[in-house]
Structure formats: C-alpha cells, structure tokens
C-alpha cells in the first residue's frame, strides 16, 4: 500500500502530537529540576531555565540519604532479579522436562498463586516478618524485636520467586529441541549438568527478558518497600522520594531532581534492551 505524501504528513503529524504528549511531562520534570526557585513559581511558566541550577541535584542528594536509598534499591533489585532467574528457571526446567508424581497438580498450584492478589497476603506476610523467630532481636517465639522488618532479607524473600517467571520460562524451555539433552544424557550428563550447561545457555533471550522485567518491576516497586522499610537508612528510592513532600510545602525543584535520578537507570535499561520488552510482552501475553 503506498500512501500519498499528504496522507503521510497527516499521519506523522498525528503521531508527533501523541509523542509530544508523552514526552512533555518528562521535559517539564527535567526543566523544573534545573530551575532556581524564582523561576519555578512563575506564571506563565518558562520552559528553559534562565540560570541553569545544577546545584538542585546536589541539594536533593543531601536533603536525604539518597546515596543510601540508591544502594538499597540496587541491592533489592539485583538480588531479586538473580534469585528469580535461578529459582524460576530451576522450577521451570523441572516442570518442562522431568517426570515425577504430582507434576501437573504442583504446576497448577504454582499457577494458582498468580490468582491471589498481593493485597490479601500483605498483612499476614508483614506480621510473619515482624514475628520471625530469632531475627532482629526476636526470641524463639518471635517476640521482642522487629524481626525481618527493616532488613534486606525481609524485603527480598517474599518476592524471590514468582509463578509468572516459572510459567514464562517453562513455555520457552518446551520449545527447545530435545536432541541435545538426549545426546548429553547418553554421554552420562546429570540432570543438573543438562539444566546448567545446555538449557540455560540456550535460553539466554528468555532469561534476559525475565531479568529485565524483574529488575524494572523491583526498581519501581513501592507498596512493599513502604511497608517493610520504615527505617530511614533502609528505604528504597521510591519510598525515599517522599521526603520532599511535607504536609504544607513541596520542594518542586528538589523533588523533580530526585525523580530524574530515580528514573534514569530504568530508562537506560529500557533504551538498551528495548527489543526484550517487546518480546517479553509477546511471550507473556499473546501466545500464552
């Protein structure tokens, strides 16, 4: 189908309007983060700062232990990504390739956990972490201290594995040809060896997709860190951003500098791994 030049221009115009609408808030965020206060509270607003105030960034970083929040977020996101890749792929391999009693039932139960909304389990898991025996000053009955609250373990453990990841990887593993494994088995390779040396290397695209998804989700996670990490030194970036919002005033310059800092890592990952995002959506959604 060839489009006439007029039609092409019209389509581009429409698409451009859409793109401008998506980009505008981001530009406004960056612009605000670089303005002195006198230019922020101005009506009509101005787009480019007259005096670029880079100091907003250092001021924002000093207004709260942002370095600490950043490290906490990295620890949280990296660990949860690693544990999901490992545990999900192990379970997925088992469901895709090994024969054992109760396989279908266990797989159905695993999928069933996806049906349970996190808000139902949130309260008991919170109590469980608080009452975790022999942790965070607790005695063996789980009384006396704060348990696993305000700890990395408490933040990470409940999300260390996910049914969605198992499902996604199992679907992928089932598409891999069995010939290689059979040959390796005849040569005396163990199941562990087949999983580690044949299945995983062949699954790099699926693992990358799951890894990127898990990492961005963890980086952006809000409700769970908000509940578990109440101590300032243990907060993640998403929770820490709120220091600029008090009941009466909001430091928009510093807050916008903070949101830029929070946003940049995931944006870079997205721009670098764009095709994995689209593939992940296709893998997870359409063919199911």
């Amino acid at each position: 189908m060839r489009l006439t030049l007029a039609k092409q221009t019209l389509l581009h115009l429409l698409l451009l309007t859409g793109a401008a609408t998506t980009i505008l808030p981001f530009l406004w965020m960056v612009s605000t983060s670089l303005k002195p206060e006198s230019e922020i509270f101005r009506f009509p607003p101005i787009w480019t700062p007259r005096a670029w105030k880079w100091e907003n960034y250092s001021a924002a970083m000093q207004a709260a232990p942002f370095g600490r929040y950043f490290i906490n977020t990295v620890i949280f996101a990296v660990t949860i990504t690693a544990s999901n890749l490992l545990l999900c792929s192990m379970a997925a391999y088992t469901f895709a390739r090994l024969r054992f009693r109760g396989r279908n039932l266990l797989f159905l139960l695993t999928l069933g956990t996806m049906m349970v909304p996190g808000q139902v389990t949130m309260v008991p898991v919170f109590i469980m972490l608080k009452r975790w025996p022999l942790a965070g000053g607790n005695d063996w009955l789980g009384i006396g201290g704060h348990g696993l609250l305000n700890s990395y373990v408490g933040l990470i453990l409940p999300g260390a594995v996910g049914a969605f990841g198992i499902f996604l990887l199992r679907q992928f593993f089932m598409t891999l040809p069995r010939e290689l494994e059979d040959a390796a088995r005849i040569d005396g390779c163990s199941e562990l060896g087949i999983y580690w040396r044949i299945i995983l290397p062949l699954s790099a695209p699926a693992l990358t997709t799951l890894g990127i998804f898990t990492f961005t989700a963890a980086w952006n996670e809000f409700l769970w860190p908000l509940l578990v990490m109440s101590k300032d030194s243990m907060k993640t970036l998403q929770v820490g951003l709120q220091v600029f919002q008090t009941q009466y005033t909001t430091r928009w310059d510093l807050l916008m500098a903070g949101t830029v800092v929070v946003t940049i890592p995931v944006l870079l990952i997205f721009l670098a791994g764009q095709r994995y995002f689209t593939r992940g959506i296709a893998l997870s959604g359409m063919k199911g």
Partner: protein, 311 residues
C-alpha cells in the same frame, strides 16, 4: 531395575529443583492466604493477640455498604477509575497502534516514546503529574489559559477559562488521576495491539481492496475481529490492574479530598497500617479477592469465546 533407579533419580532431582520455589510459595502465598482468612474473622491490632469475633468484620462491611460509608466510596471510586481508564485507554492505544502500523518510515522513535511512561516508576510519574496539576503554577492551567486566548483571538469575544484546582477538587480529582493513568498505560496496550496487528496476514487486506472494500469496511471485517485476542488480553489485564489501583492514589491525593479518590487497596492499606485494624483490613482484602475472582471467571469466558479464524 535400572529403569526404576533412573526414575527414582529423576524424582529426586525434581524434588531438589522444586523445593526452594515451593517452600517460598508455601510460606509467602499459601500460609498467608489461610492466615488472612483467619484474621478476617478476628479483631487484631498487631500488639494484642487476635480475638475471634466471627462474622463481625464482614457485617461491618455490609453496614458500610448500606450506609454509603468509606468502603462503599472506595468501591465506587475504584469502579469509576476502571470505567474511566479502560475504554478510553484501549481506544487510544488501538488508534496509536493503527497509526504506527500504517507503513510509515521512522515509526520506531514514536513507539519508543509512547513506551517511556510504562517503564518509569508510578511514584515518580505521579509526582511529576502533581506538579503539572498544580493549581497556581501548573502547566495544565497554563494550557487552559492558552486555549482561552486562542479562542478569544479566533472569535473576537473575550473567552475565559478559570484555573482549575484539579487534585484538590473532589469533583475533579479522580478524573485527574484517570487521565494520568491513561497516559501511563497507553504504551503497554499499544505494543500488544501492534503485535496483534502484525499477526494479521497482508493478503486479507489485498483481497479486500480488490473487492472494493473501503478503509472502514476493512477495519470492521478484518482488523477488529482478528484483533480480538489482543483486545481480550488488554481488557483482562486492565480490569484486574484497575481493581488494585493504589500507588498513584497514595502519592497524589492519599484518598482525598474528602475520600473522593480512596480506592479498595487504599482502604485496605489504611485500615491495616494506619488504623491497625488488621482483621477488618483482611476482610476487605477478601472482598477484593472475591471481586477479582469473579472478574477473572468472566474474563476467562471472554478469552475463550469467539475466536475468529480466516485462512
């Protein structure tokens, strides 16, 4: 004999491989669901031991619904959010996907920019939009003023659009959150529609053009029916996601003004962790669970039924 030993070894490997995942599921999903059900029949403030009160939490929810209390409002607001975001969000996503798929050059840059809000954190996005919605210095009120000025110039009559208070106005706050949420979710839905569009064989359109079908007829007879799986998938994901809306509400309005934007999950969160009514919150969580379960059953029928196949 050798065979059964191999089988046993396979079972053992399976057990070892599955154990960590299953233990975690047991600890952090199965056990908590049972615990939450138990708590929903208790009064519990985390300091004192749970006290069994039977169905009183559920009775309280019933009374709240009958008297149009806060939980009733949260249900109403959540429904408003779903009705506001889903149809409009899906229509816009489809329109964008059709535009991106029209065969223009250089569309990948548009696709990328539409997807940017999807990967950005909801908290950061919410804060940026709060600034856009600022009643005094916000960009949106400035936009309204520009529109008024343009209208004045065009008609020659003095036009005024007074500045709006958006998130501070009980009548507008939910709409403001809806607009932001549509903006954020658009890219995700568009990518799914695009995948659907790219799966439609080109020869169907060629045949239709030879038969003299107009663009609208082609859309109605080919594109829309063949996009049904994509439409159903987006619908299902959006419905379940909407029923759990929380972060943008918590950040932008904290349920206010006057409970105009409080949602189901916001109520669960507040009751459990601000008012320390963990039993009541658990009962609310089970009401949410029930709602999501029913919606899922409906959705399942939607996903199954009405497959269209053109060879």
């Amino acid at each position: 004999m050798a065979d059964s030993r191999a089988e046993r070894r396979e079972e053992r490997t399976a057990f070892i491989f599955l154990a960590p995942g299953l233990v975690l599921f047991f600890l952090f999903v199965l056990l908590p669901v049972v615990a939450a059900l138990y708590l929903s029949f208790c009064r519990y403030d985390i300091v004192h031991s749970p006290v069994w009160i039977g169905l009183r939490n559920y009775a309280r929810i019933g009374k709240d619904l009958a008297n149009h209390g806060v939980f009733y409002l949260s249900l109403r607001n959540t429904a408003q959010y779903a009705l506001g975001t889903i149809p409009l969000g899906m229509a816009l996503a489809l329109a964008l996907a059709l535009l991106v798929n029209a065969g223009l050059r250089g569309v990948s840059i548009y696709r990328t920019s539409y997807y940017l809000p999807v990967v950005t954190s909801l908290v950061a996005i919410s804060m940026v939009w709060m600034w856009l919605y600022d009643p005094t210095y916000g960009l949106l009120n400035y936009g309204l003023e520009l529109i008024a000025r343009a209208a004045t110039a065009l008609t020659g009559r003095q036009m005024m659009i007074p500045p709006q208070t958006w998130l501070a106005d009980p009548g507008q706050a939910m709409a403001a959150i809806v607009v932001m949420s549509i903006w954020r979710g658009l890219g995700y839905n568009m990518v799914i529609y695009l995948a659907g569009l790219q799966g439609i064989p080109e020869h169907l359109y060629e045949a239709a053009i030879i038969d003299g079908a107009t663009a609208w007829q082609r859309f109605k007879a080919i594109t829309w029916p063949l996009l049904r799986p994509a439409t159903a998938f987006i619908f299902v994901v959006s419905v379940i996601g909407s029923s759990q809306v929380f972060a943008q509400v918590y950040v932008m309005t904290n349920g206010g003004p006057n409970n105009a934007t409080t949602t189901i999950v916001h109520q669960i969160f507040q009751n459990a962790f601000s008012f320390m009514k963990m039993g009541y919150a658990s009962a609310m969580a089970f009401v949410l669970f029930g709602i999501i379960f029913l919606l899922s059953l409906l959705n399942l029928r939607l996903l199954r039924g009405g497959e269209v196949e053109y060879a």
